[in-house]
Amino acid sequence: MKFEHLVAAVIHDLKNQLQSLLDYEQDAISQIPARYHRHLQPILQRTNRLKNDTMQMVSLFRLEQKENFHMDDAWPRDTASDAIEATQLQYPTIQLVNEIGDECQGFYNENLIQLALVTLITNSAQAGATHITLTADDSQGLTINVQDDGHGFDKTILSGEKDTTKTEGSGLGLFFVKLIAEAHRQGEDCGKVTIANRAQGGATVSLHLP
């Protein structure tokens, strides 16, 4: 058996175990009186974060291997909704709004784009956002926007001098999202990420896919 296959098999099991752990924890919470929830909540959140980290790790590994990612018809509204589900647990007080239309269509690797959105939402949350909105447009390729009301990007990041100013987490979030965008190629075109600060405060990150 090839080394990559072994790694893939181990990670596959890891993912499944973490998912069952999450299911068990959620099940437990639903059966325990509300006043004890605060004891279980941190465990649930950490498990969720572990799962997201694992997904990120496997994707990084595969991006590095330059593997061929399966791309297919995909529905941004569903992908965004999955990403919201995966992060809401972590940040129960943040308002996450999915404004993407039902008919909006894309052609991408669902798992990767979901991960990219999870990463962007996490970034926003860590930038102090309380309200995050996801929108999309499929008139020319596909663009998915994540808008927040946090403190916005630092000048050094907007100018491209630095990749991160964060002290918490790996600080690789935006870089990772760029890798994912670039893995989406159509002939000469490849995906890209643009960032901007909003006039009314907060930031917008846009994921453009060909």
């Binding site: 893939a8 596959h12 993912k15 499944n16 973490l18 998912q19 069952s20 299911d23 061929n68 399966h70 791309m71 297919d72 018809d73 529905w75 569903d78 909704s81 999955d82 589900e85 039902d102 008919e103 269509q105 052609f107 669902e110 798992n111 190629r185 159509q186 002939g187």
Partner: protein
């Protein structure tokens, strides 16, 4: 979009997963989503039993089901046996790393997939999308189920204008249907439309198949190779490379391609059979043995079970056996005998299978040096052949060969005479000629053996000239073995030593040594050879040659 709860409530659903947690979790989720008629199966066999017994609208199957069949095989069998209609849904549940493999299939592809792990919401969204699309394609699927393919094509073409968002699933269906109707140019066109916008491996594979059928095999191969660079796990590309190479007469290269496909996806029975067939033709018996063994094992409880695999397996094994029952080949012998047992059990009512079983069994015994058992098998084959109403020429030729192998030359000649009188096609006639020349060689061998025996008799009585005459006659046939030649040399030397120098006899000896050629010192006849050679050299010197 459809109302999922409403859509699911009257659907008959089958869940296949080997893990109990996964099974119950999916069942729970589907119940929450509105499903009311659910069955669960733990492996491929149980799943197939369910599918043969009931009509399902939706099958959810895990791809990796542990030891037995995988989800892809369940799909293939379900569709191959027409137990799963085109309008039914087959959804493969899989880890993300396997999606590439399962969504590449052109012939038997799942309707869709869902990657693990997933939550209730993810399942709801995914199913809503899948079932909404399926509903829009309902009329096309109905025509396919009714075998009205051209109708289905017309409907799918009409839908293209109506639902631009369904471009990909529509092109997928259309391409397949065009190919089925041999409308290759249209298939290529529709695949190109998609490829101009989207890089989709299955569309490339579809184009390559069409190019091949339209006569441009080189371009088809080039396209497949390019696709494989981007997408090395895409097994169907190897399959088609093999088909195309084989059609170009490059059977060895074709075999290599299939070996790669089997390495990636070892559980597909049809592929293993094809590999075995090619390898056998290429006389690569170890590969053929392994492939047919897999095909027997994987096919045992499937619709692909066929006597052919057992017979081919036995034939491949026979080529690797040696006379005797050494330890090293014990396992192989056991396996091949078990294959014969299984054949006799499972195909008892089929004369032609029983006949071929006896033939292959006889050959195996012959190879192992069990002459008696070989004759028993030939006898059995003979009995079955007598029972058969219209035995084919091929069967009769096989019987002839068995007669020759077991020393029943008269029967062999009778059968050959009968076959010649009936007249045969070129292929069978060539086979008959091969058998005839085998038989001739064998009679010559018998004849030389008799001459040799006569020579030995004379020699032992000291009648050297008569011995020489017999040995020389035997040596006249180019088939004469080394022992005959050595006998002739020895008789001539004895004659000279006991009477007088005879240069002509010495020259004959020289010729015979030339025919024998050099002999290795591990040959059991080496000592004798050396002794005679020394005597010969001494006599030659004495004669002043």
């Amino acid at each position: 979009m459809i109302n999922l709860e409403h859509a699911l409530q009257d659907k008959r659903i089958l869940i296949v997963d080997d893990l109990v947690e996964a099974r119950s979790s999916l069942k729970k989720m589907l119940t929450l989503l509105g499903a009311q008629h659910l069955d669960t199966a733990t492996d491929g066999r149980e799943a197939m039993d369910f599918i043969m017994e009931k009509d399902y609208d939706i099958v959810f199957s895990d791809y990796n089901l542990g030891k037995g069949k995988d989800g892809q095989q369940i799909l293939e069998e379900a569709r191959y046996t027409h137990r799963l209609r085109a309008s039914s849904l087959f959804i493969l549940v899989t880890g993300e790393n396997a999606v590439d493999m399962v969504m590449g299939a052109l012939e038997y592809e799942p309707d869709n997939y869902i990657t693990k792990p997933f939550t209730l919401n993810m399942l709801r969204e995914r199913l809503t999308r899948i079932m909404t699309t399926k509903l829009k394609l309902a009329e096309v699927d109905a025509s396919i189920d009714a075998e009205q393919i051209d109708n289905a094509i017309d409907q799918a073409e009409a839908l293209q204008g109506r639902y631009p968002k369904l471009e990909i699933p529509l092109i997928r269906v259309l391409g397949k249907l065009y190919i089925r109707q041999q409308r290759y140019a249209e298939a290529i066109k529709v695949y190109s439309t998609l490829l101009n916008k989207r890089s989709v491996s299955w569309a490339r594979l579809g184009q390559a198949i069409c190019m091949h059928f339209m006569g441009d095999s080189d371009s088809a191969l080039a396209l497949l190779r390019r696709t494989l660079i981007d997408h090395p796990m895409y097994v169907q590309c190897y399959d088609w490379c093999a088909i195309i190479l084989n059609s170009m007469g490059k059977a060895k290269e074709a075999q290599k391609e299939l070996e790669k496909a089997v390495e990636i996806s070892p559980k597909a029975v049809l592929r293993q059979m094809e590999l075995g067939r090619l390898a056998y033709e290429n006389q690569d018996y170890p590969v053929a043995e392994a492939a047919f063994e897999q095909a027997m094992r994987l096919g045992r409880f499937s619709c692909y079970k066929t006597s052919h695999n057992y017979l081919q397996f036995s034939s491949a094994v026979r080529h690797m056996l040696k006379p005797g029952s050494e330890r090293s080949q014990k396992l192989r012998i056991e396996k091949v005998l078990r294959a014969f047992d299984e054949l006799r059990q499972d195909y008892a009512g089929q004369d032609s299978v029983m006949f071929e079983t006896s033939i292959v069994e006889g050959k195996t015994h012959k190879t192992l040096g069990n002459e008696d058992k070989a004759r028993d098998s030939a006898k059995q084959a003979e009995n079955v052949l007598k029972r058969m109403k219209n035995p084919s020429h091929e069967h009769q030729l096989q019987m002839t060969e068995a007669y020759i192998d077991t020393g029943q030359h008269v029967k062999a000649k009778d059968m050959m005479r009968k076959l010649k009188a009936e007249g045969m096609n070129d292929k069978d006639l060539r086979q008959l000629q091969v058998l005839e020349s085998n038989l001739n060689q064998m009679s010559i061998r018998d004849h030389t053996a008799q001459l040799n025996a006569r020579g030995v008799g004379h020699y032992e009585k000291g009648e050297f000239p008569q011995a020489i005459e017999a040995f020389d006659q035997a040596a006249d046939y180019e088939e004469a073995g080394i022992s005959v030649l050595l006998n002739a040399i020895q008789a001539k030397i004895s004659l000279i030593e006991n009477t007088q120098m005879d240069v002509a006899q010495l020259k004959d000896c020289y010729q015979y040594f030339q025919r024998i050629g050099p002999m290795g010192d591990n040959d059991e006849r080496y000592e004798r050879y050396e002794r005679l050679k020394n005597s010969f050299t001494r006599l030659k010197r004495a004669a002043g040659l």
